[in-house]
């Protein structure tokens, strides 16, 4: 860390914020990863199947109903 790169002066009572450019890469990558995770709980097998058959659907079936996703 370069000594010259001093952090911008923040007013003592300014609320702490995280810069958007530091969040965006994580949001883009993990946001999509999380949506894929949700897809397997909420939609896989019913509407569009990435894996053939109903195995994934039946495995998470009770969770799908109880978590509010449409099923049968």
């Amino acid at each position: 860390m370069a000594q010259s790169a001093a952090p911008p002066a923040v007013a003592p009572d300014a609320p702490l914020t995280l810069p958007v450019r530091a969040i965006l890469p994580w949001a883009a990558f993990f946001g999509i990863l999380m949506l894929i995770l949700l897809y397997f709980v909420g939609a896989e097998g019913g509407t569009a199947a990435v894996f053939s058959g109903e195995g994934v659907h039946e495995w998470v079936h009770d969770g799908r109903h109880l978590l509010g996703f449409p099923c049968h």
């Binding site: 609320p15 702490l16 969040i23 909420g42 019913g46 039946e58 495995w59 978590l67």
Partner: protein
């Protein structure tokens, strides 16, 4: 440094999601499985054909349910942790714990409560398989709409705050949210497929269980993640005032 902070918060958010998932699974197993089993009894008595069972009921109720719940809680806790990073210091003068609580409240309302009002969770054998594609699309659309309206309301509140003050800006943004959500609820197509003779108490118990799971998820996320996030952010928030408030100890007072 800031990117590392976001990563730390994201990791803690997902760990919170796993911990929450254990709680939600326990609740779902104890409270949700009972009406679900009753629905399957109704289904068995009324169905004409039955496909081969790929996963045994015992596995579906235990490991299967746990998988579904943990995927769900971890995914939403991760997304909520990212939302927390955006919200911190931008939605008002709230510290990490209050911000986590507000993000959790927003998640509960937009991701669950609003879609639930239009397309409530239903036990097996209630809905027709023929309309599954349409119902799935509508449900995800409802979640997306509700989250977008929620974000728009927060931005509106931010914009109005300098002019109206925090209190009135918050009320105006909340009313705008309720009106916009109400319009979405009114204009999206309804789904009414309840079969003849389906026990109403089973549907009620099932929906109470489903709502309880979400309440447990978002409440425990807000509390646990708020605590963890404060410990990550505490050095900065706690040091700033301390460095100014505490005078240097170098010169002890003469006796």
């Amino acid at each position: 440094m800031n990117s590392a902070t976001v990563r730390t918060l994201l990791v803690r958010g997902m760990l919170t999601g796993i911990a929450t998932g254990v709680l939600v699974f326990g609740f779902a197993y104890l409270v949700g499985e009972s009406p679900l089993r009753s629905a399957l009894v109704f289904e068995a008595a009324h169905e004409t054909e039955h496909g081969p069972e790929l996963v045994s009921r015992t596995l579906q109720e235990t490991a299967g349910l746990a998988t579904g719940v943990l995927f769900f809680t971890t995914a939403f806790a991760g997304i909520a942790a990212l939302a927390f990073c955006f919200a911190l210091g931008r939605i008002g003068r709230f510290g990490p714990r209050a911000t986590a609580g507000l993000v959790a409240l927003g998640g509960f309302v937009t991701v669950f409560l609003v879609p639930f009002l239009k397309y409530p969770a239903s036990p097996p054998a209630v809905s027709s398989p023929d309309t599954l594609n349409q119902r799935t699309a509508l449900y995800w659309l409802m979640i997306a709409l509700s989250v977008l309206i929620g974000i728009a309301a927060v931005v509106l509140g931010q914009r109005l705050a300098p002019r109206l003050g925090n209190w009135n800006a918050t009320i105006t943004a909340s009313v705008a949210f309720v009106v916009a959500v109400g319009l979405a609820l009114a204009f999206l197509p309804a789904v009414n497929e309840m079969p003849e003779g389906f026990p109403a108490n089973v549907v009620w118990d099932f929906r109470v269980a489903a709502a309880g799971m979400q309440l447990l998820l978002w409440a425990s996320f807000g509390l646990i993640f708020g605590h963890l996030a404060e410990r990550v952010l505490e050095p900065r928030t706690a040091n700033a005032p301390t460095q100014q408030a505490v005078p240097p100890q170098a010169a002890p007072a003469p006796h």
